[in-house]
Symmetry: C2
Subunit: 306 residues, 2 copies
């Protein structure tokens, strides 16, 4: 049995796991991320990996890293991130290879999660699927004919910045009506904070989960907010279905976790609005079966399989 | 030198060409399509190919066919078309192979045009590009890492039915705000026919070319209509750029042919609205360099190269 290390780096935390060839995460440890500067961020990542390596008694033969941001996958370079101040290229794969004497690859977080699906989830059944992460932000990994779509500069997958053009939803990207601005965790909270009856509880006080729960209880403002999120995601996913004719659509991320009603409402919208031929091709629409907590670690460790 | 036959079947005409290995269309002939019934359509196609074959003194070693509709590319079956009444499977590739004793393949029209780009246009420079046809309808062919994206059932590419959700534009697919309903030839004419000052000239009297010309002359209603088309196409293409991170975007079809100002306005919208990293990846945005009249024939004949 071979063992690989998977490192999942977010804006606030680092999760590191030891993963066997069958995709079992046999050990995992969580570290705080320090993103006060590029130097602090890189130092924290390296120290966390050191800490984890010294806690296991197995020699892994690969270290894969998933990071929120723009990654040069071929060269193993961390180019930039929205929420971590990277101002010069970080040759992370080379650093890790030199330090630990094992092969290393890095990629962005949603590509990693999609690679986890490719080897241990949807990819076992299908060669054409889309994994959509709905968390603080929204992004997607597209697999066509068994291959992850990377695009010209490994930046494919910014489904969150698909504008479906509805009123409202001024997005950080400068457009309006982006799926992310209306249906991500952050987007749902921001939309809700504009509703008068919910405005006593602002962005800091309500989570998207609270708003979904309030909608379930019949609160009109929460229902309106969730309806907009369903329509934005439904419309965006119908666009994906029409454009790419996938066989499966997997949803993951904190916003949809344990929210079957929300997922079902999105499916109803997609089924009614996407082209009938493409709807017929869809064999599965629903939550990813992989553990939402470790899908990033599993995917990062699976970069060795590409 | 090898020669291939390319057959481009639309709702009203059939264009058949003889194409050499270098992509030169050395002979071509146009026939009227008969779409009164499935039987009449198939008979007309076969008779047209017969006619063309007897007019050339070269023995081709492949017949490729491009058809508007849903095609089973693997099995060579014409499944359905929007505007031709196909009610049972047409095993066209097998028919042609038996009749002429040469290899045959069939695919849909936009896939064929994209394959022409792949071998004789953008594909010579880039492994990640999108070809968008803007004619009576709108559709796209997506090439990622050198491969045409077909999807689960060869139905990928329905970019015309990407809703960008602006008001207006009730689409034949049942949604509103589809790119096709606002920016195709048919869509532009329909939008214009709602404008009071242009309403004296209805869908039968004005073409999209007339409306683009009226807008250039400063007609306010035409300017408004063209502005909506630019915004719809610009927003849809920005969505594609964000999702797929292409290196090139090629526009073809009757609506954009000889309309550099229209194309330039769309580019301005895309450049301003797509994510900066993805805009930086775009090395080319503009008209296809391939002959709009024969790109379908060239692509169909190139199906032998896949």
């Amino acid at each position: 049995m071979e063992y690989h290390i998977g490192v999942d780096i977010g804006g606030t935390k680092i999760l590191i796991g030891l993963v066997d060839d069958n995709g079992n995460v046999t050990a995992a440890k969580r570290f705080e991320m320090n993103r006060t500067s590029q130097e602090a961020a890189v130092k924290t990542i390296l120290e966390s990996i050191d800490d984890f390596m010294s806690s296991i008694d197995i020699l892994p033969n690969f270290i894969g890293v998933g990071i929120v941001g723009h990654i040069d996958y071929q060269k193993g370079i961390w180019i930039s991130s929205m929420n971590i101040p990277i101002h010069s290229l970080v040759r992370l794969a080379t650093m890790l290879e030199k330090k630990y004497g094992v092969r290393s690859r890095i990629d962005n977080d949603v590509h990693c999660a999609t690679i986890a699906e490719l080897f241990f989830g949807a990819g076992r059944r299908s060669r054409n699927f889309i994994y959509i992460n709905i968390g603080t932000g929204i992004s997607a990994g597209v697999v066509c004919d068994g291959n992850l779509i990377r695009g010209a500069d490994n930046y494919a997958g910014e489904f969150g910045h698909m504008s479906v053009g509805m009123t409202g939803g001024a997005c950080i990207c400068g457009r309006t009506g982006c799926v992310e601005s209306l249906a991500s965790g952050k987007g749902i909270v921001e939309q809700a904070s504009r509703e008068p009856s919910l405005s006593g509880r602002g962005p800091g006080e309500l989570t998207s989960r609270d708003i979904l729960e309030l909608a379930r209880q019949g609160d009109p403002a929460a229902t309106e907010t969730v309806g907009i999120a369903v329509k934005a995601l439904g419309s965006g996913i119908a666009n994906l279905v029409n454009l790419l004719n996938p066989e499966e659509i997997l949803l993951g991320g904190s916003v949809v976790k344990n929210e079957p009603d929300f997922v079902h409402s999105i499916w109803n919208y997609v089924e009614l609005n996407a082209l009938p031929i493409s709807v017929t091709s869809l064999q599965y629409f629903g939550l990813s079966n992989l553990d939402v907590n470790t899908i990033g670690v599993l995917g990062a460790s699976s970069l060795c399989k590409l």
